[in-house]
Symmetry: C2
Subunit: 762 residues, 2 copies
Amino acid sequence: MTQFFQLLLILVLQISASAESAAPKESVRLVDYVRPFVGTQGEGNTYPGPSAPFSMIQLSPDTDNELWETASGYEYSDSTIMGFSLTHLSGTGIPDLGDFLFMPQIGNPKLVPGTKADPDSGYRSRYSHDEEESSAGYYKVKLQKSGVTVELTAGERAGMIRMTFRANAEASILTDLHHVLTGKKWKVIWSYVRVENNSTVTGFHLVNGWAKERYLYFAARYSRPFDKAEIIGDGQPVIYNTYRFRSDKEASGANLQFLAKYKTRESESIIVKLAVSAVSAENALKNLDAEIPGWNFEELRDKTRTKWERELSRIEIEGSQEEKETFYTSLYHAFLAPNLYEDITGEYRGLDQNIHRAEGFTNYTVFSLWDTYRATHPLFALIQAQRDADMINSMLAHYDQSVEHMLPIWSLQGNETWCMIGYHAGPVIVDAYLKGVKGFDPARAYEAIKTTAMNPNYDNVATYAKLGWVPFEKENQSVSKTLEYAYDDFCIAQMAKALGKKDDANYFAKRAANYKNLFDPSVGLMRGKDSHGEWHTPFNPHFYDESTGVNDFTEGTSWQYSWYVPHDVPGLIALMKGKEQFTEKLDSLFTFREADQSKGVSDIQGRIGEYWHGNEPSHHVIYLYSYAGQPWKAAERLHEVVKSQYGNKPNSLSGNDDCGQMSAWYLFTCMGFYPVCPGSEYYVIGAPQIRKATVHLSNGKTFVMNANNLSDKNIYVQSVALNGKKIDHPFLPCSAVSSGGILTFEMGPEPSKWSTNPQIPK
Amino acid sequence: MTQFFQLLLILVLQISASAESAAPKESVRLVDYVRPFVGTQGEGNTYPGPSAPFSMIQLSPDTDNELWETASGYEYSDSTIMGFSLTHLSGTGIPDLGDFLFMPQIGNPKLVPGTKADPDSGYRSRYSHDEEESSAGYYKVKLQKSGVTVELTAGERAGMIRMTFRANAEASILTDLHHVLTGKKWKVIWSYVRVENNSTVTGFHLVNGWAKERYLYFAARYSRPFDKAEIIGDGQPVIYNTYRFRSDKEASGANLQFLAKYKTRESESIIVKLAVSAVSAENALKNLDAEIPGWNFEELRDKTRTKWERELSRIEIEGSQEEKETFYTSLYHAFLAPNLYEDITGEYRGLDQNIHRAEGFTNYTVFSLWDTYRATHPLFALIQAQRDADMINSMLAHYDQSVEHMLPIWSLQGNETWCMIGYHAGPVIVDAYLKGVKGFDPARAYEAIKTTAMNPNYDNVATYAKLGWVPFEKENQSVSKTLEYAYDDFCIAQMAKALGKKDDANYFAKRAANYKNLFDPSVGLMRGKDSHGEWHTPFNPHFYDESTGVNDFTEGTSWQYSWYVPHDVPGLIALMKGKEQFTEKLDSLFTFREADQSKGVSDIQGRIGEYWHGNEPSHHVIYLYSYAGQPWKAAERLHEVVKSQYGNKPNSLSGNDDCGQMSAWYLFTCMGFYPVCPGSEYYVIGAPQIRKATVHLSNGKTFVMNANNLSDKNIYVQSVALNGKKIDHPFLPCSAVSSGGILTFEMGPEPSKWSTNPQIPK
């Protein structure tokens, strides 16, 4: 095609795209497709309460605060609610947050939560899903014990709780500063509460949680003055006993609660508007008053729903009601985190625990990078480029504040949890840089990435750099670390090359090949090796020891991790002696049945043989069929996973959503391609799962995917055309997406010859 | 005297004063008279380590951190030192501070302090007073265990520790973040330490102490890079165990320590320069680098000594070496507190726990007002007027931040301890206002004073206002509170009058007379009364119950508190049926002997009968003789107290110095007058205890006191002349002092007729 025709084609496509987006929108509200309950039952670990996109506050009901498996505080199967707290993580495998629980009561107020079996022993209440609803920006439930209807809505830093009481002489609203999602492991170290005036309370707690030292403040304004206000310390009212004065308007201690007491009229609604800050109570009040100056619950809800509508409309799809509900809920979940982490003043609490001001960027936290580098950030690079740049600038600020001079690994509200492995901030930044995301300094970013990858202390990276692998006797999860370092190094080499840093590019390219050092040809799999070059013996490719967590692999087995060479699949195929043996082995991953199917961490489900879709190491694996000339097998497995492990029901998610990674996998997969190797120039084509997607890219361009004849039977790709030109390989250039265009699939009921002998780009 | 002659006289006096101050100064260094050990043995509770005047940091050795009686951390009788911490209170009765202990060691470092009996069981070391010295701005000691000589010096916010080691392969410097002066009651709630680089450490702790929730950060720079740096958490080195990464460069927890390890050469000195901040580690570093950019120990020491010289030269005296040592040490102690409490950035942590910026004033903390309103602040009004204004502005900021809308009672580093009784910030401000201290807003100050005195929650002030007394069945220490409220109310009335607020003046003047309501004529003393007007029965005028602290009196008895009507002594004399019965009763206070002399709190000593000079309620009492026409009795008692309860020895102070109040009593008394009633227009003349004092007032004027013929025998006032004019009464107008002038006493060996029938001003 000549350049002229290319331009002409793009023009035509853009006209057709805008014609489409000019269609009447009033009738279609994407926000109405969102089902926040998806993922709340079982392993998904999402929460049903409202928040704005990427917001700092997330109001949501907590049904549990002790179970590790109820990391978001809400489990759909639970039949009691403890109350409504202000912050929540979406889809993580470890609990934290759940700061500051609010709970209306009637009668003599209870000061302990009580148990699930006996909710009447505390402030906990039974509820029914029949009297519960949730939508983007809104949650409602009727508490059976008190008869109070509770409604929640939330904006960026502030939210509202509306409680509608029956007539009662002894109504009260409890704030429990001692409540956090503890997983029986974390605890509130200290707290402070202050009754600022007859309708305003501020408070603070310091939590030793997954985030080791986390400070959070809140401010609460009540729509009507308290009839009586009472602070409770260690279960007793804080009063002055006439011996040595103590104010009853403030208290500090490890276990504090506040009771706003009212005599209520029938159907009286009391609204509490709330905000949080990691800096100070003063800033929490500023956040509150700036965002919610008035008392209009619906106004805030509608404002937040409008924000969601704007974000969700970045991708428009055609599909059934169920498909749309699943798709837009996935997009909603992908847009919940990372979270805004700065006050209206621009101040935030840094990793060094000093108060910083975000200059020239918006600061974010909650970087679940081992998960989100895979598909979430690559999605952001396309349709959330400005936020992606802000997130990168946030990571660079983290780097500046890090005593180890490292980019985040898994950072959470001014803390580094050091959770999971690798140095995957690298791929996120490199992928963004190579995809044209603007708004951060590439030289500064590269310096941070390189310094992180050269850290002499972290996880035996230095030994890896010297030896070519992480020796298992020196480091836990040595094989997974070696493999992921190698991939990260590939990304760094790509950026070094782009920046003209030849020596660095060569150095990291060499490190990128380190994966080969742990491939044991005698077993045809990746295997632990000690510092003398001896293989780890005995070797069981299916071994997984959850009880100790000490293993050569990270949340997985050799059988699973042996596929982890996203940056050099041809190299891996060669190690496995060619495509035939490669695909045979891959087949057996899905068919392998072990006697004991309960092995592995219990919250990793979505298992098809030893393919565990509920955890990230498997996420790129199905797409490897596309490299090996058997795309129909990818089509079958992708269809199977999408149909069985996603949906619009509370239990639809098979694994932790992990701050949107499970959802982002689904979104890409639906559109027919996936970033197997972020930082490379190609997406890998699988098989589309929705009929049409129109992607409004952040750069103003539009990308359209059509899957002609797609149906539950027509799951196989027959042919693919990019901008009208057929392609017979599964490698979709990233530039072809970001420059806008049309990707057209012809689908059919049987495997085709399409892409059965592809040239794999290196 | 005509106005012309008055002016002439003042001119002459000023010329003579400047002639005097033009005398060669090089030979006389007032700072050399300071003996910081005074008050470190027994009840004085001072500390021997260095600090600048009114400074934020106070480096000093701690010999104890558990005894309530060793509130400043150092007891001269102890023979072991735990280490050297950064902050100390001067003379308080309750321990707190002692933040961040530094201790050099050799050999395998100990991580627990060890006991006094067995110091070798920990890092504690024996030392000898023969190898110890202390002067203003400097402290030195040789630690016997390690052979390390430790020297301390300090400036405003930063100080230095110089440690001179012998050659040792295993030298180390411990920082114990867990160390505070606990009195076995307080504790470190949380802490954080961070090895910023190979010679810099920052840290933080949150202390639940006398100050309920106190945040303090430190920064430390070492003069040479660590050979090895180690963080200790709960007694174990913080290392990475290859399972889940943890940095060895930072840690948080309740029990943290840091070890800087060195191989030292013979006589090698290692300096640690240190600063504190209540805001952040970042600010602590800023404070450090701004104040001590280099490494010159002597330069900082000399700078601080120059500051002390400037402050001490506000009063020049003639006297013996011992008298000068006692006097200038008292002045030194009076100038240790309140303490600077803002960073070099102007930021400080407010009572509301928000970070504030002091705009237009310098922020101070440590307001021991029940003590210091008596003589310390009246002294400041004369010779530290600018700081007094800053302190008042600091109290007004406290008021603005107070959830109870109250001026400080006993405030300590962003906390209100609610220690002691009354609302004595009022007298401090009123006295300053009436004495002409400029630099604060009187209208705003008055509003704060009045609001404080009208608080409906605090210590039954509201009942007092309504009933005329605090009923004993409703409130502990009801008599002392009634009496002190009445005095405070007198002050408020004075200011209201001066501001033209007639109604307020009348209202508070009426409250000022409330003391009469608790005078029981049947016993001739002050006595508890219930809300029905019934006297507290049985009544024992000498009753003091230390064990419960529940009593009608505050740290005293009826016999002592019955003299507390500083604002209306004539009224009290009238209640006591005239001067004769008044003085007889007063005599018996000094002669009363009870079988059990151990009653009362053990740290209140300085007892002459039931006159307990070691505690503040007695401080004005001797001067009451002057009102009653028996000034010679005052002269005898004043001489007795000065000679027996003050001096230049470690055990010279008979009671807690209480942030300078014991010392300020001495300073005024030496000069022959005392502020019996701050907020009134008169000082009360007693009997001078030094030959001459030249006071350089903050307003630029000079006031001179001459005590002609004073000697150990000539202790009686024969005559008094003010600016050359004889006066035959003991009431020295405050204006006569503040306008500059000469007060001349003629002293003799026998009581004279001087002032035996004075007209008492009302």
